[in-house]
């Protein structure tokens, strides 16, 4: 058991490897009633390929990771969420592009519930009947999203930004891929991706770390090693976008515009550099386009944005982009102002005071985040996959120089941008 104290933040993290195979982290939170526990596997919507026990390369239908997420808590044709509930735990799960997370928050019987979560995660029992029944439920989940114009906007933009990357696919899959999913697909994907060495468990709460370790070592079994292997998609994604512009009449009353600027992360970039780049890009975007920027003020004065204006930065192993969006009656003017700001970014306008201010903001935002057990567990998981402890992220961010930010700004290429406008239907 390794214990690390982060004195600046008055927090303590414990780490051990369960049976020498699975990383378990405990973040101690004295005085909290609830304990929040996550168990994550590195399988998201962008993962579909695997090698089976015969060495053959196979591909599951799109939406497989999400379908698995729906079926993990089933045992003997019964949903075991009831067992958690009777032991004061509420369970949930979600699938992202690059990860699936199972979680519960419990106000009692934490150790028993952790054991139960491991059991469900590693030893699910898929049945043909259960898989068939789930197809209708997932189809209704997809229908719910299909009625959302902003959902369509996001997915169309992804398809226009990327030529081949599986980000183009919906996390839920398609009507056809959901219907085509088989029990064999789910079993194979589970074997390939739900391996103890690749999973991460994060426990946040007022729990005795040694009691947790002892109980898990005694009671939790892990699956035997398997010949199944996860495979990443072969990617030759070009730097340029597939389609720079698209507009579509959707069922909205106010036009909505989403602009994406694509970067290609340099292949073989080491993970520490990638994290640094992610943080640098966030700082750059806050300075340049954030709500306190000159650009955002000018766009507001020109009536090109409203209070829905916002931006999001994604930098992962195989993709990186910035998304900027707003609802506006002037979508074209917004696009023009935005691209102009990115293209002719006046470096001199970023002062040392601005830089200090944004760093203060980063530190504050980090400390605020420590009060949410949920946010803390998810951020911790996000960074630990790169062997970075979340509590060290502030220090990395603090060490980023203005010159690094400016050099990143010079790499921004607005010819790699795509925009999608959702326009109201004509009467």
């Amino acid at each position: 058991m390794k214990k690390t104290q982060y004195k600046t933040f008055r927090e303590t993290v414990y780490h051990f490897q369960l049976h020498g195979r699975l990383d378990v982290y405990l973040i101690q939170k004295p005085d909290y009633s609830k304990t929040y526990v996550t168990l994550s596997a590195p399988i998201g919507s962008i993962h579909r390929r695997y090698r089976d026990e015969k060495g053959e390369v196979k591909e599951a239908p799109s939406g497989a990771a999400h379908f698995l997420e729906h079926k993990i808590f089933e045992r003997d044709g019964r949903d075991i969420s009831e067992d958690f509930s009777l032991d004061e735990a509420q369970i949930n799960a979600f699938t992202e592009h690059h990860r699936t997370t199972y979680l519960f928050s419990a106000t009692n019987h934490v150790l028993q519930n952790v054991e139960r979560l491991f059991e469900a995660f590693f030893f699910p029992e898929f049945t043909d009947q259960g898989v068939e029944k789930e197809k209708n439920i997932i189809a209704e989940e997809l229908n719910m999203h299909l009625d959302d114009p902003y959902y369509e906007q996001y997915h169309t933009l992804m398809r226009n930004l990327y030529h081949f990357h599986p980000l183009r696919e919906d996390i839920l899959g398609t009507k056809e891929s959901i219907a085509a999913m088989s029990t064999a697909d789910l079993r194979a994907m589970h074997k390939a991706y739900y391996q103890p060495e690749k999973a991460t468990c994060v426990v946040v709460g007022d729990i005795d770390p040694y009691g947790l370790q002892e109980r898990l070592e005694q009671r939790v079994k892990l699956p035997e090693k398997t010949m199944f292997e996860p495979l990443s998609q072969p990617l030759e994604e070009p730097a340029h976008v597939k389609k720079p512009r698209e507009s579509k009449e959707l069922d909205v009353l106010l036009p909505s515009v989403l602009v994406g600027v694509k970067f290609l992360p340099e292949m073989h970039m080491d993970v520490k550099t990638r994290i640094r780049e992610r943080l640098s890009l966030s700082i750059l975007m806050s300075l340049l386009l954030g709500k306190s920027s000159d650009v955002s003020e000018a766009m507001l004065d020109a009536g090109e944005i409203n209070d829905t204006y916002g931006l999001d930065v994604a930098v992962e192993d195989s993709y990186a982009h910035v998304l900027i969006g707003t609802e506006t009656e002037k979508p074209e003017a917004f696009e023009a102002s935005l691209l102009e700001a990115l293209k002719n970014f006046p470096e001199a306008t970023i002062t040392d005071a601005d830089f200090r201010r944004i760093k203060n903001q980063l530190v504050g935002s980090f400390i605020h985040g420590l009060d949410s057990l949920e946010a803390l567990a998810h951020q911790f998981t996000e960074y630990i996959q790169y062997d970075i402890v979340f509590y060290d992220v502030v220090e990395i961010a603090q060490s980023i120089t203005k010159e690094e930010i400016l050099s990143l700004a010079r790499r921004l290429d607005t010819s790699n941008a795509s925009r999608f406008i959702a326009k109201p239907k004509k009467a």
């Binding site: 509930s85 004061e88 509420q90 439920i137 209704e140 229908n143 009625d147 009353l253 409203n306 959702a422």
Partner: protein
């Protein structure tokens, strides 16, 4: 964790001290009566106050100041509690112990002080906020689940205070004048009953003294004693509206006579959980897990109106099947035809939720409000005991006091895109 209530110049202070949190949350709630026009004015006024002030001359300057102050957030939201309107301001700052600058807390309080006492009302900001509010209402249409819920509420709560949106109404926005904004502001800071809560790890005496000094409210009225009227609902014919949709949205309504704080209040809370709160509820099991008709289904008890709303979404051809299943499930509950295990699952769901609510600064502030205004003790054990004491027969009796009054469907049009 400790709650201390203090009254000064008619202002009620709730000091909730706990070592759990690394942030300190200060919340101010100004109460007034709820009507459509004044809600619109009050919401616009609140939005203008949090946009800028005379010490932070524009939105950019205020945003930059807050960023500088370690991501302090200044929020302003309009809420309702029964038939009262609440203008709520929130200030969320990191605990000053993290900051070397000894003036940090004073700097943060200065922002709050400027927001509340040094407003910069001007036509440009009013125009912008009116536009934002119009855009907000227009965006309700784009999100079909939200739009369906709005249409449902509009019809169910016709002529009932619950119909009023605390943000106001689209058709009232253009009427609002600067004079009305200024008058509403004066009324808020000088007359509106006010409650201030502070949650976090701090020294109470020092906090009390600093807040009294920074926020010199002197003439505000006492807190209201009554928050809702008992106005029974009569049955309404079902409504089906249509638009281009992949999935129909279904709302079914039970009405009764059990309101907040009544003897049967906790049985009603347990009944709603049994019916449709969480993945172990009866409706979730029957409609989603057994019949695979829907992705979600939930039941929600509104104790100020004595209404239980059941909400789900599904293919058009499954609507009747789902309605029948929901009615059948409720009839079974009325006859006591449900297992002890189902009741225990609902009870555990509530127990877990109550315990968890004491881990959130926002919830703690609200629990203190409920304690003060609605006589619900600020005591986890009290609430847990109330839930534990509810018997199966109490739930059945509560169910018998409910009747179906209204069904609303926002459905797909004929020949619209085929659902999956």
């Amino acid at each position: 964790m400790k709650l201390t209530i203090d009254k000064h110049q008619n202002v009620t202070y709730h000091f909730i001290t706990t070592k759990q949190f690394k942030s300190v949350q200060i919340t101010l709630r100004f109460f007034d009566d709820l009507d459509e026009k004044s809600a619109t004015v009050r919401h616009l006024m609140l939005s203008m106050l949090k946009a800028k002030n005379n010490r932070h001359k524009n939105r950019k300057a205020l945003s930059r100041r807050l960023e500088e102050l370690y991501d302090t957030s200044l929020s302003g939201v309009s809420l309702k509690l029964g038939d009262k309107h609440i203008n709520q301001f929130g200030l969320n700052l990191i605990n000053p112990d993290f900051v070397k600058n000894g003036r940090f807390f004073e700097d943060v309080l200065e922002v709050l002080q400027a927001t509340l006492f040094d407003p910069a009302f001007d036509e440009k900001t009013l125009r912008e906020e009116k536009q934002f509010l119009k855009d907000y209402f227009k965006a309700e249409y784009a999100n079909k689940s939200r739009y369906a819920a709005k249409r449902y509420r509009d019809q169910l709560f016709e002529n009932h205070p619950n119909r009023i949106n605390p943000l106001g109404a689209m058709e009232k926005i253009d009427e609002v004048t600067m004079e009305e904004i200024e008058a509403a502001y004066e009324r808020m800071v000088r007359k509106n009953p006010l409650m201030i809560s502070v949650v976090g790890d701090y020294d109470q005496a020092s906090m009390q003294e600093r807040l009294r000094r920074a926020l010199p409210f002197e003439t505000n009225e006492a807190l209201p004693k009554r928050f809702f009227a008992r106005s029974p609902f009569s049955e309404k014919p079902p409504v089906r509206e249509t638009m281009a949709l992949s999935q129909d949205r279904l709302f079914m309504t039970l009405a009764g006579d059990i309101y907040y704080g009544d003897d049967a209040y906790f049985p009603m809370v347990l009944l709603a959980a049994l019916l449709g709160e969480g993945g172990d509820s009866l409706l979730f099991r029957k409609v989603r897990e057994e019949a695979s008709l829907a992705y979600y289904i939930n039941a929600h008890y509104r104790p100020f109106a004595s209404i239980v709303s059941i909400h789900s979404a599904m293919k058009r051809e499954n609507i009747d099947k789902a309605k029948a299943l929901i009615e059948e499930t409720f009839e079974a509950v009325k006859k006591g035809d449900f297992s002890d295990r189902s009741l225990e699952l609902a009870r555990q769901y509530l127990i877990t939720s109550i315990k968890q609510s004491f881990d959130s600064p926002r919830n703690l502030s609200f629990i203190a409000l409920r304690h003060q205004l609605l006589s619900m003790p600020f005591d986890e054990d009290y609430m847990l005991q109330q839930i534990r004491d509810v018997k199966k027969t109490d739930v059945v009796e509560a169910a018998k006091r409910l009747r179906w009054i209204f069904t609303y469907v926002l459905g797909s049009e004929d020949d619209e895109k085929d659902a999956v």
